[in-house]
């Protein structure tokens, strides 16, 4: 049985359903991420798990026990707030000791556990400082130490790295992964940052308009987005809309030929069977698209002729926008791996864009 079960949870604010009939099962020891844009309901869901908000419908079950009747202070979950929410009138040690004091842990035992928790986040030396004397990263670590000191069943993290700069964020991401491994506590992590979600999580639930669009491992979320929204929200994606011309079973799924306006016939893979005549899109990641000035592709590749319309040089990579002869735009990403070269093509160059049929992925609808 899953550690934390979200069963058909709904939360409305007036007419607006912030969380709309969401069901999730989060396993013990998992690093689980709720990912989505602003207003998708991820924070509302997190607040309902913490007990700051109550569902209008459905149940939140932890260890087989419905939490509905428990106010936040009686739930064995802890939150790391986006603003850190460190008590400004208490020292670092005072902050970390607060949950122990509330749990009526004795003095000597409190000292020992506070010390251990601060050691765990490499802040033992700052025990007597006040929060305003700490840097953003240090505050974040104190907030985590405070949340973990009483060994909760689940740690909820609400965009904990959003206020930090990029370098520090990367460093803390690594620390979070290691910390989670060490303590073995289930993390439920909320973020709008897809990079962060992909880097940290065991599993990700992508949310939009209060619903879960896709629940999967990071590589599946990125590689096989199930909906247009997921394809578009996670990373960058070419999406070609069209009508299925032919469909043949192949392996576990089917091989689909799609007529795309301005591009021609595109062959791609799908896991489910798709009837001819139905609508859908092909999702192709730009880094899977190759471009060349001559025809080199094999017979099973999709390819189209066109010219370079635009390119964006980004240092390590360059993004080319190819306009196919039919008018459709195809984005391609090339690594600038060759020494001394910053780009391979100029705007206006006649090129051919191509990708293998199994590099694409069919999204119905």
């Amino acid at each position: 049985m899953a550690l934390l079960e979200i069963r058909n949870v709904t939360r409305r604010f007036g007419d607006f359903a912030a969380v709309d009939d969401v069901s999730l099962a989060i396993e013990a020891g998992e690093f689980f991420t709720l990912l989505g844009p602003s207003g998708c309901g991820k924070t509302t869901l997190l607040r309902m798990i913490a007990g700051f908000d109550l569902p209008d419908g459905g149940a939140i079950v932890l260890d087989g026990k419905d939490l509905a009747g428990d106010p936040p202070e009686r739930r064995p979950v802890r939150t790391v707030f986006q603003s850190y929410a460190l008590f400004p009138h208490m020292t670092v040690a005072g902050n970390v000791a607060f949950p122990l004091k509330m749990a009526k842990v004795g003095g000597a035992e409190t000292d020992r556990q506070v010390w251990a928790a601060l050691e765990g986040v490499q802040l033992a030396g700052k025990a007597d400082r006040y929060p305003h004397e700490l840097s953003g990263g240090q505050k974040q670590r104190v907030a985590i130490a405070r949340a973990l000191v009483t060994k909760p069943r689940v740690l909820l993290l609400d965009e904990p790295l959003a206020a930090l700069d990029a370098k520090l964020r990367e460093q803390l991401q690594l620390e979070l992964i290691n910390l989670q491994k060490d303590v073995g506590i289930t993390f439920v992590y909320v973020t709008h940052d897809q990079t962060e979600a992909l880097a940290l999580s065991h599993r990700i639930a992508v949310m939009n308009h209060g619903r879960v669009e896709q629940l999967d491992e990071p590589s599946r979320i990125y590689g096989f987005p199930r909906t247009r929204f997921v394809a578009d929200f996670i990373g960058h994606c070419n999406l070609f809309d069209g009508v299925v011309a032919a469909s043949a079973p192949s392996g576990g799924g089917s091989l689909v030929d799609l007529d795309v306006a301005g591009l021609g016939r595109i062959r791609t893979l799908t896991q489910a069977s798709v009837p001819a005549g139905s609508k859908g899109s092909v999702a192709v990641r730009p880094e899977k698209v190759r471009i060349s000035s001559s025809v080199t592709q094999g017979a099973d590749d999709n390819h189209c002729a066109g010219h370079i319309r635009d390119f964006l040089y980004m240092g390590d990579v360059t993004m080319y926008v190819v306009e196919a002869t039919g008018g459709q735009r195809v984005e391609a990403l090339l690594a600038n791996s060759e020494a001394g070269r910053t780009k391979f093509f100029e705007a206006g160059d006649a090129v051919e864009a191509a990708w293998r049929f199994d590099a694409g992925h069919f999204i119905p609808g």
Partner: protein, 324 residues
């Protein structure tokens, strides 16, 4: 993967809008607090609510009822119930409606309050502007200096003008030294409408400075630079940019000056002559001297109505709108 030009979800650049959005609708009144409401809410809001009901709302209601009763035989109020039936009358209202003298007093009060408001605006504007454009570290101190006199006793501030305008004061002597050789009667500055207005302006000035400052301080200095860049001179920059943007502050200040100035009685009492009877003096007279409480109540209710209507108007005019 490392870049995301369309999605707008560059880490660090996007604000935590979701958290904020949810707070706006949900976090301020999250429903775990709803559970506390039964007891916690009444434990906290009950005592002040009860106190203000007893010592503010009920007295106000009593005044409304009193305005419909006939005056008592020896002043005060007649009993509310006589011979088993309610003893209510519109007498006091009829008296107010029937005698233009009272309307003149109301009109005079409105005029005095209006002049006071205008004078305060003219005096307060440069003061507020100077403070708002001072270096940030001096602003709080300069503002404290504006407010400080307001916190000294009201009567002392009025009394100070008794000294300044008194017959033996340097100012009076100087004025009369100019006026008398020209063949005029010696003038008395004290106990005059002039003295009343000076007192009113002096006492209410900080009420105008505060909202003006609060407004002017928020102006983006780049707006003035832009206006200058586009060829506006100092005068045009003020009338076309600064002043229109400060209107909410002007209205708020006008309400904060006008409303209390309307009900004042001590300033005409101390600084004014016999003709400087304002509505406040009339009310005081009805309650303490003539002891016609029903009529005093009617006057108070009319004053309340005017004050609340003006406060509502000012709140509406200066309501927060989309700012630049």
């Amino acid at each position: 993967m490392r870049w995301k030009p369309r999605g707008g979800s560059m880490p660090g650049t996007s604000s935590p809008a979701e958290g904020a959005g949810v707070s706006a609708s949900g976090a301020r009144h999250p429903s775990w607090q709803a559970r506390d409401r039964g007891t916690g809410r009444w434990l906290v809001s009950g005592p002040p609510l009860a106190y203000l009901l007893v010592f503010f709302a009920i007295p106000a209601l009593i005044m409304v009822v009193a305005s419909f009763t006939p005056p008592g035989e020896y002043g005060g109020l007649a009993p509310l119930f006589e011979d088993g039936k309610a003893n209510l009358t519109l007498e006091a209202y009829e008296r107010l409606a029937g005698d233009p003298i009272y309307w003149e007093v109301f009109a005079k009060s409105v005029v005095y309050a209006g002049i006071t408001t205008l004078c305060c605006l003219v005096l307060a504007y440069p003061l507020a502007m100077l403070v708002a454009r001072s270096p940030r570290k001096y602003r709080d101190l300069l503002m404290l200096l504006v407010i400080l006199p307001f916190w000294s006793n009201f009567l002392i501030r009025v009394y100070a003008w008794m000294i300044i305008l008194g017959p033996q004061s340097a100012l009076s002597r100087a004025v009369n030294a100019v006026v008398e050789p020209l063949g005029f009667e010696p003038v008395s500055l004290l106990f005059s409408s002039f003295a009343v207005l000076v007192g009113l302006v002096y006492v209410h000035l900080p009420f105008m400075v505060l909202p003006l400052y609060a407004n002017l301080e928020k102006h983006d200095p780049a707006l003035l630079d832009a206006a200058q860049d586009l060829g506006a001179n100092a005068w045009q920059r003020f009338w076309r940019v600064t002043f229109p943007l400060s209107l909410p502050g002007v209205w708020a200040g006008a309400a904060l000056v006008f409303i209390p100035a309307l009900g004042i009685f001590a300033i005409p009492d101390i600084l004014g002559g016999t003709e400087d009877t304002l509505i406040g003096n009339l009310i005081k007279q009805q309650f303490l001297e003539t002891r016609d409480w029903p009529f005093g109540s009617v006057l108070s209710i009319v004053l309340t109505a005017i004050a609340l209507a003006l406060a509502g108007l000012a709140a509406w005019v200066s309501r927060p709108r989309r700012t630049a």
